[in-house]
C-alpha cells in the first residue's frame, strides 16, 4: 500500500481526523453498501435454476466469485501471493472423488471431507507463512506441483490414475448449483467476518507494518493462520463442488495453473484488499473471458496473459482501488 492510501485508511479509522463524520456512521454506511452487494448477488443467483436448465454460465461465475474472494483473504488482506492456489482446488476435487467413488460415501460427507482435507493440508503448510515475499510465492507453486505428482504416484485403484475419476452416478446439476451457491455465500460471510471484525483490522495492520502490529499486541501468527485457514477451505470446497457438477476429475484440469491465474486476475482486476474488489473484478471480466473462450480457445491464454500484464502496469490497484484513490473522500465507505 502506498502512503497515500495508508493515510486515508488511518483517517478512516481515526475518530480525531475524521471530524465531520463520526466513524460509527461511516462503518454503518459501509455495512449497508456491502449488504446491498450481497443481496444483489443472492437475487442474481438464487432463482436461476427456475428459469433455465443451462446452468453452466452462472455456475462458473459463482465458482470464480468464490475463488477470487477467498484468494483475496490471503493476497489482499494478509499480503501473501500464493501462486500454487490451485493446489487446494485440486485437493478438494480429488478428496471428493476418492471419498465418493472409492469409499462410497455420500456427496455431502465427501464435500465436508474435501474441506477438511484442504484445511488439513493448509495447516500442514502453515510453516510457509513465515516466508517473505517471493519465497512464499515460489514455495507455494512448488507445493502445488508436488501435490499433483504425489497424487499421480498414488495407486490407480484409489485415484483413478491417469484416467481420473468419473462420478456419473452422482449427477445432479441443480443440487451442485445450489451447493456452489452455498459455498459462495459462505465465502462472502467469511470475508465479512475477516474484514469487518477486529480480526480484519489486525490483518491489515500486519500487512501494512508487521512490527508495529506486534508492538501493539496483535498475535501475528494466529491472526494470519485464521485468514489462511479460510483461504484454503473455500478453494477445496469449490474444487469438490465443481467435480460433482462436471462428474469428472483428472490431474491436468484439477491442477491446472490457470485456476490460480484466473483467481489472481479476477481479484486483482477488482482490487485486492477490498471486499467488493474480487466481486467487481470477476463480474467485469468473467463474461469477456467466456466470450473469448467460446470463440477462440487458443487465444484465451494469450489474452489472459496480456490482461495480467496490462493490469499490473496500468491499473495495479484494480478498478475499486483506482476509484478509491481517485475519490479518496469515498474511500472509507468502500467495503
Amino acid at each position: 500500500m502506498s502512503d497515500e492510501t495508508r493515510e486515508t485508511r488511518i483517517e478512516a479509522q481515526n475518530p480525531l481526523s475524521a471530524s465531520q463524520n463520526n466513524p460509527e456512521k461511516t462503518s454503518h454506511i459501509k455495512s449497508l453498501i456491502w449488504g446491498g452487494v450481497v443481496t444483489l448477488i443472492i437475487l442474481a443467483f438464487l432463482p436461476v435454476p427456475l428459469f433455465t436448465t443451462n446452468l453452466s454460465f452462472m455456475f462458473y461465475m459463482m465458482l470464480w466469485l468464490t475463488m477470487a474472494t477467498s484468494f483475496n483473504f490471503v493476497a489482499g488482506m494478509a499480503g501473501y501471493m500464493p501462486f500454487g492456489y490451485v493446489a487446494f482446488y485440486g485437493i478438494g476435487a480429488y478428496a471428493t472423488g476418492v471419498l465418493y467413488k472409492t469409499f462410497g460415501l455420500p456427496i455431502p460427507i465427501a464435500l465436508a471431507g474435501a474441506a477438511a482435507a484442504g484445511v488439513a493440508i493448509g495447516l500442514l503448510l502453515a510453516p510457509t507463512l513465515r516466508l517473505k515475499g517471493v519465497y512464499f510465492g515460489i514455495v507455494s507453486l512448488a507445493l502445488a506441483m508436488a501435490m499433483k505428482l504425489i497424487i499421480s504416484l498414488m495407486p490407480a485403484k484409489i485415484t483413478g490414475g491417469s484416467l481420473g475419476l468419473i462420478l456419473s452416478s452422482a449427477n445432479d446439476p441443480t443440487m451442485a448449483y445450489y451447493a456452489m451457491f452455498a459455498v459462495l455465500l459462505g465465502a462472502l460471510a467469511a470475508g465479512t467476518w475477516l474484514s469487518m471484525s477486529r480480526l480484519g483490522i489486525a490483518l491489515r495492520a500486519i500487512r501494512d507494518d508487521r512490527e508495529a502490529a506486534e508492538v501493539v499486541g496483535v498475535n501475528v501468527v494466529r491472526t494470519r493462520l485464521k485468514a489462511w485457514v479460510m483461504a484454503t477451505m473455500f478453494p477445496s470446497l469449490v474444487g469438490g463442488v465443481e467435480a460433482w457438477y462436471t462428474n469428472a476429475i483428472d490431474l491436468e484440469s484439477s491442477f491446472n495453473l490457470l485456476v490460480t491465474a484466473k483467481s489472481i486476475v479476477y481479484a486483482m482486476a477488482g482490487g485486492l484488499g477490498f471486499l467488493v474488489g474480487p466481486i467487481v473484478g470477476a463480474s467485469a471480466l468473467y463474461g469477456i473471458d467466456q466470450l473469448i473462450w467460446r470463440h477462440f480457445p487458443t487465444l484465451n491464454l494469450l489474452i489472459l496473459g496480456v490482461v495480467i500484464i496490462a493490469l499490473m502496469l496500468l491499473l495495479p490497484r484494480g478498478i475499486v482501488g483506482a476509484f478509491a484513490q481517485r475519490f479518496s473522500r469515498f474511500r472509507r465507505f468502500i467495503p
Binding site: P127, T128, G137, I138, A146, A261, L299, L301, V307, I308
Partner: protein
C-alpha cells in the same frame, strides 16, 4: 547396480551443469533487477525454436546459431526492460508486481508459441561422430559432452565478466547496494536493461544447449524449465549468480540418481521437496554466505 549409479552420477553432473546455466541467468536477472522471471522457461524454449529455424531456413548448425540467438535475445531483453520492467520499480511491492507481470508474459509467450509453431514436439537435427564415447562402463553421448563443454565455457565467460570486468563489477555492485551505485555515477537504467538482455541472451543459448541434449521440445515445456530454474537458484542462493552453479549440479545429481532408483516422477518430486526443505531450513540457500537483501 554400481555401474548404474555411476552412470546416474555422471549424467547428474552433465545435466546439472545445464540446469546451472538456467539458474545462472535467472539469478543474474533476479539479483540485479529484483525481478522474478517467471517467463524464463518460455525464453529457453524460444531459444530452442530459434536454433530450429536457423537450421531449417538458414542451414546454420546449432553451435553457429548460438551467437545469433544471444544477440537477438539480448536486444529483445534490452527493449523489454523499458517496456515492462522499468515501471515495476515504482510499484509499491516490486517483487510481487514483477512476479505477476512475468507470469502474464509467460502465458503470452506460451500461447504465442502454440499459435506460431503448433503443438507438435520438434527436435534439432544434430548429431556428432562418434555418437557416444565409452569410459569403462559409463556411456556418454558426445552431444551431451559438447553441451557440457559449452555450458562450462559460458559459465566461465560469465564469471570472468562478473568478477574481472568493469561492467560486471558494476552489475554485482547493484546486487549489493542499489542506492550506493547511483551515487558513484552508474547509469542504473542502462545497466539494468543490459542485464535483462544478458539474462535473456543466456536463456536463449541455454535453450539451444537443452534442445541438443534432450530429445524434443514443444511450447508446453517452458514452465518445467522455469521451475527447474527456481529450484536451482533457491538451492544455490537467490540472487547469487555463481551459487547457482553449485545448486544446479546438486539438483542434477539428486534428480538423476533418483531416476536410476525410482522413476522420473519421483525425481521431479524430489526436486520440489529439496526446494521446499531448503527454503524452510536455510532461506539464504545452501551456499549463500550473506543475506543479499
Amino acid at each position: 547396480m554400481n555401474e548404474l549409479l555411476l552412470q546416474g552420477l555422471v549424467n547428474g553432473i552433465v545435466v546439472g551443469l545445464i540446469y546451472a546455466l538456467i539458474g545462472v541467468s535467472l539469478n543474474v536477472i533476479f539479483g540485479v533487477l529484483r525481478v522474478v522471471n517467471f517467463a524464463h522457461g518460455e525464453f529457453i524454449v524460444l531459444g530452442a525454436y530459434g536454433a530450429y529455424f536457423a537450421q531449417q531456413l538458414l542451414g546454420l548448425s546449432p553451435l553457429l546459431a548460438m551467437p545469433l540467438v544471444f544477440l537477438v535475445f539480448g536486444l529483445l531483453g534490452y527493449g523489454l526492460y523499458f517496456l515492462l520492467v522499468q515501471r515495476l520499480s515504482r510499484s509499491n511491492d516490486p517483487e510481487h508486481a514483477s512476479l505477476l507481470v512475468m507470469f502474464g508474459l509467460s502465458l503470452v509467450l506460451g500461447a504465442l508459441m502454440l499459435l506460431a509453431f503448433e503443438a507438435d514436439s520438434r527436435s534439432l537435427n544434430f548429431s556428432l561422430e562418434p555418437p557416444f564415447l565409452m569410459f569403462g562402463n559409463v556411456i556418454l553421448p558426445t552431444t551431451k559432452l559438447l553441451g557440457l563443454a559449452v555450458s562450462v565455457v559460458i559459465t566461465g565467460c560469465l564469471a570472468y565478466f562478473l568478477y574481472r570486468t568493469m561492467p560486471g563489477k558494476a552489475l554485482r555492485a547493484i546486487i549489493m547496494n542499489r542506492d550506493a551505485i547511483q551515487i558513484v555515477g552508474v547509469d542504473l537504467n542502462h545497466l539494468s536493461a543490459l542485464t535483462f538482455g544478458l539474462g535473456l541472451g543466456l536463456a536463449g543459448i541455454t535453450g539451444i544447449i537443452v534442445s541438443m541434449i534432450f530429445p524434443s521440445f514443444s511450447p508446453f515445456i517452458g514452465q518445467d524449465y522455469t521451475l527447474i530454474g527456481f529450484i536451482v537458484i533457491v538451492l544455490g542462493g537467490l540472487g547469487h549468480p555463481i551459487g547457482a552453479v553449485a545448486g544446479g549440479i546438486l539438483f542434477g545429481l539428486a534428480e538423476q540418481t533418483a531416476m536410476v532408483f525410482f522413476s522420473g516422477t519421483v525425481a521431479m518430486l524430489l526436486g520440489f521437496v529439496l526446494l521446499i526443505a531448503v527454503i524452510l531450513i536455510r532461506p539464504a540457500g545452501l551456499f549463500g554466505v550473506q543475506n543479499l537483501r
